[in-house]
């Protein structure tokens, strides 16, 4: 029996202990009329060998295209120790460290993770993770409404340069608590949120302003000005950041005169594979003064009864298992294993390695944009890339071009036409440190060929 160790003798002995004639008798409290799930839709069991064959075939169907897609999920080198450690049964098959004394490994690791995230973001406290970057933004908006004591507003200023899927998720999660989002437009030429566009809201009551750095287009926002504007208007500043970029870019804790108030984002770039979108993890850091408004688990260092240092879950009075309907969030299980990977990843890279990765990303994105913009009909939509992504415009519809590139084994980027019609035939591309000169050349050549084919087809039709 798969994964069930009982011998017939075991079963007979156990039933005898119970005074039951059969295992079925143990279900005699279920009303008879309800019983009889036949599971016709579940196929018969397969051996491990058969399942391995099936999954290998499925995986092969998907192939391994050359990837220039980003838009919230990024291909990076993942050091071999990262998942060798995270796959250890002692991490992989443990649960939330409810019994602290028997979970010091996980607890110390989370404490180290929290320390690293505070260091990266320049903030004072971190939680132990949320589900992903998008849901972390939703939680940050809810938290800002609770934390901003100077505001009675349930409105949040949301620039259009924030990842539009994040905005959708924030809406799905926060709207049921009557949080409303005021959408702030961007500068067409620069692809960022000008502080002037916020001036129209001066004097109105808002709980928070969200700023994504680098923004969804890959451009850099003027974070210092935006942060100062928020604080001058009694608005909390929520920073959405890419953790790798923070090796190069100003830490949110240093934004403007006072720094960001809540920082969140997608942790995936820190050692977590693309894997069709998950499991990733959301991170969140904030000021100490807001720690009791923060959602999710938090680990603290303390001592045992003999004065020995140790680690434990703390500030649990914020959480659902204690506060029930008054909790800061309903989150319980988070993304522990992905956090394990990220902690190992950050330890291996350190500040020096992270800076090397970030600088390589920036340079590769510049190289990519330069190479692609040499193809006739391709132009940059804005200035040079702020980090590892950029928007390009094409002289023709994007979707057929992407399809033709995919047929050549290249994922050319994300079509922005529907989300941002005002940008025209726009494409969001990404290059990380994983891309070589040859990769970039391959993309540029394929794009030139596809654009050329399109041209010939158009001429033929004429």
């Amino acid at each position: 029996m798969p994964f069930i160790p009982h011998t017939p003798e075991d079963v007979a002995g156990m039933l005898a202990t119970l005074g039951a004639a059969s295992i079925d008798e143990l279900f005699d409290e279920i009303p008879a009329g309800l019983k009889g799930a036949r599971l016709a839709g579940v196929p018969p069991a397969l051996s491990e060998m058969e399942v391995a064959r099936l999954l290998a075939e499925r995986a092969a169907q998907d192939g391994r295209p050359l990837c220039f897609l980003g838009a919230g999920a990024y291909e990076h080198h993942i050091p071999a120790p990262v998942w060798a450690i995270a796959s250890r049964g002692e991490f992989y098959s443990a649960y939330t460290p409810y019994q602290a004394e028997a979970s010091q490994g996980t607890l110390q690791l989370i404490y180290e993770y929290q320390s690293m995230m505070c260091g990266l973001t320049g903030m004072e406290v971190s939680n132990a993770s949320l589900y992903d970057g998008a849901s972390a933004l939703a939680e940050a908006c809810l938290m800002a409404v609770r934390a901003n004591r100077g505001s009675n507003s349930r409105r949040v200023l949301m620039p259009r340069t924030v990842n539009p899927t994040y905005v959708q998720v924030a809406r799905s999660i926060a709207a049921n608590q009557n949080i409303a989002f005021e959408i702030v437009d961007f500068d067409r030429a620069l692809g960022r949120t000008p502080v002037e566009s916020l001036r129209a809201y001066g004097g109105e009551d808002f709980a928070a302003l969200v700023v994504q750095q680098p923004n969804f287009f890959g451009n850099l926002e003027e974070v210092h000005e935006l942060t100062d504007w928020a604080h001058q208007n009694n608005v909390l500043l929520i920073g959405v950041v890419n953790p790798i970029s923070l090796a190069l870019l100003s830490a949110p804790g240093q934004w403007g005169g006072r720094g960001a108030d809540i920082v969140c984002g997608e942790g995936q770039p820190l050692g977590v594979p693309l894997a069709s979108g998950g499991p990733y993890f959301g991170f969140m850091t904030t000021r100490m003064q807001y720690v009791r408004q923060m959602p999710g688990r938090i680990v603290g260092r303390t001592v045992d009864i003999e004065g020995r240092p140790g680690f434990t879950l703390t500030l649990q009075a914020r959480e659902q298992h204690i506060r029930r309907s008054k909790a800061t969030s309903n989150i319980c299980t988070n993304q522990g294993l992905a956090v394990t990977a990220a902690t190992v990843h950050l330890s291996l890279l350190g500040a020096q390695g992270l800076e090397r990765v970030a600088q390589a990303c920036l340079q590769r994105a510049h190289d990519l944009v330069d190479a692609l913009c040499r193809v006739p009909g391709v132009k940059p939509a804005f200035g040079p890339p702020g980090f590892h992504e950029a928007v390009l415009t094409l002289d023709r519809p994007v979707a057929p071009v992407l399809a033709a590139l995919a047929a050549r084994g290249i994922l050319g980027g994300l079509d922005l036409t529907e989300r941002y019609p005002e940008l025209g035939q726009a494409l969001l591309v990404c290059a990380t440190e994983t891309k070589t000169d040859a990769d970039i050349r391959a993309y540029a050549e394929a794009l030139a060929a596809v654009q050329g084919e399109g041209l010939r087809a158009a001429r033929g039709a004429a």
Partner: protein
């Protein structure tokens, strides 16, 4: 397991300027790209500078300070800590799966999407539901999706007054917290002495303000709600919908389906019932299933199938959807592991899960009762878990459930869930799962008997436990008062 007093330094304490794991750094790329000076980071972030071996040894040693399923019997009630087959991780880690970008075109996702489609179909069949969405990323987010769908359903029917969620007192804390997150108010109702929902209280609570009820069945009290059909009738007659918290689905897999019990919506904890890893606190996956009434409201994206091809169903296909809950499509890799597990089990294996989970739980309960422990609901069958109450021991020997939990660690067992459900005093919620052998259950009973002996003869052993873990009992009060949440270099 690491011995008492074994301390591993915080990784920052291993750090020395100039040390690094250089082979992990990318090659330098020629070029002049720069960040504008005013947006550049002022000082490098505080991260450790350590060698690769130091990293590997540090985290390996930390891992040895954990109890886990792979190393210990882990009867944590309501968490279904069963064996996580290794092959699920191995196959979900095939390079094509790991490397697949979530926004890759459908033409480069047919293999992955086939798995997700089949997973949706199997879960529909297992739960007796009409549609399944795999996007919620944990049980609590599945709950959120479920209650949000109930609200959306009432709104779509112009029934705006329905904003109250009924929750039995025994419910998991996520239930009331979820109702609040959905903007609903919570009405708690009691259970009767046998652990069933108090039907009179339910009748009194249900009315035109009722959006729905959130129910776990078997309940968190470890017993099957026998009058579930009556519960469903009362709530439906009042115009409300029934939400099934799938935390305890392991108990009824292949025996009875939530859809057949009258539930309109269910979340499943794939990391419990379908054995994806708990990962030291996640990732989980909280797939939701719905009956016909809630189909239009399922969170997106879903995987659809047309003419032998798989495609994502999004806003355009589901305009009434409650929307997106994750940046892409939920915890895809967790869902893939659940799919692999289900294919290994197959139909017969799936039915055996509930049978042997129930056999193990009932056997363990019987043996613990024989050893002198008091079951909270002695007249009832255990489901896949059961509750022991230590209120007598607390009175006679001044020992607490926490003491017993900590002492069990010394005997090499992870503790059961303690102090939950809240309404049973000094309780241990014990869930052995189907993957434990009889000998392990017997050893657990022997440990509990030994602890019982200590209660009377050496109570200090319990109150000071644990004695053999890397640390002794921790000062939680100090942890919350003198907050030390991040390492700082000595001044």
């Amino acid at each position: 397991m690491a011995e008492l007093g074994l301390r591993e330094p915080v990784i920052f304490e291993l750090s020395r300027p100039g040390r690094h794991a250089g082979t992990q750094f990318p090659p330098r790329v020629a070029g002049t790209a720069q960040v504008p000076a005013h947006l550049r980071r002022a000082a490098p972030p505080l991260l450790p500078a350590v060698s690769e071996l130091q990293v590997v040894r540090h985290f390996t040693r930390l891992s040895q300070m954990n109890f886990s399923i792979d190393t210990h019997f882990y009867p944590l009630g309501s968490c279904t800590m069963k064996y996580n087959p290794k092959v699920c991780h191995t196959l979900a880690s095939l390079p094509e799966f790991l490397g697949r970008h979530p926004l890759a075109p459908e033409s480069q996702g047919q293999g992955f999407m086939a798995c997700m489609y089949e997973l949706q179909e199997m879960l529909k069949d297992i739960t007796g539901m009409q549609g399944v969405s795999l996007t919620p990323m944990a049980g609590a987010q599945g709950e959120y999706a479920g209650v949000a769908m109930i609200r959306a359903y009432h709104r779509a029917h112009g029934d705006l007054a329905r904003s109250e969620i009924i929750v039995p007192q025994a419910a998991h804390g996520t239930n009331p917290a979820t109702a609040t997150m959905c903007g609903c108010s919570v009405r708690e109702i009691p259970c009767d002495a046998n652990g069933d929902v108090d039907l009179d209280a339910l009748r009194a609570a249900a009315g035109p303000q009722t959006a729905g009820i959130m129910l776990t069945n078997p309940s968190t009290l470890g017993v099957f709600e026998r009058r579930i059909e009556e519960v469903a009738r009362i709530v439906h007659d009042a115009g409300g919908l029934l939400y099934y918290d799938g935390a305890n689905l392991n108990a009824i897999l292949g025996k009875v389906r939530p859809g057949d019990m009258g539930f309109d919506v269910i979340h499943m904890n794939l990391h419990k019932t379908f054995s994806t890893p708990h990962g030291g606190g996640g990732p989980g996956s909280g797939a939701v299933g719905v009956g016909a009434r809630l189909l239009p409201f399922l969170p997106i994206p879903l995987v659809g199938r047309e003419g032998g091809r798989y495609r994502w169903l999004t806003e355009k296909d589901a305009p009434q959807s409650i929307g997106r809950l994750s940046g892409f499509a939920g915890n895809a890799g967790v869902n893939l592991r659940a799919y692999i597990y289900m294919r290994l089990l197959g139909r017969e294996g799936m039915i055996r899960v509930a049978e042997y989970a129930a056999l193990n739980a009932n056997y363990l309960m019987k043996r613990l009762q024989a050893a002198g422990f008091e079951a909270a609901y002695p007249g009832r069958r255990a489901s896949h878990e059961f509750i022991i109450t230590l209120k007598r021991e607390n009175r006679d020997h001044d020992v607490t459930a926490m003491d017993v939990a900590k002492r069990l660690l010394d005997y090499g067992f992870h503790a059961p869930t303690t102090y939950f459900p809240l309404l049973v005093p000094e309780c241990l919620l014990i869930e052995p799962t189907e993957t434990e052998a009889k000998e392990d259950l017997d050893r657990f009973c022997e440990a509990m008997s030994a602890i019982r002996h200590e209660m009377a003869h050496d109570p200090g052993k319990l109150s000071a436990a644990p004695h053999t873990m890397p640390v002794r009992r921790l000062d939680d009060v100090r942890a919350a008062k003198q907050l030390d949440l991040a390492w700082k270099p000595a001044a």
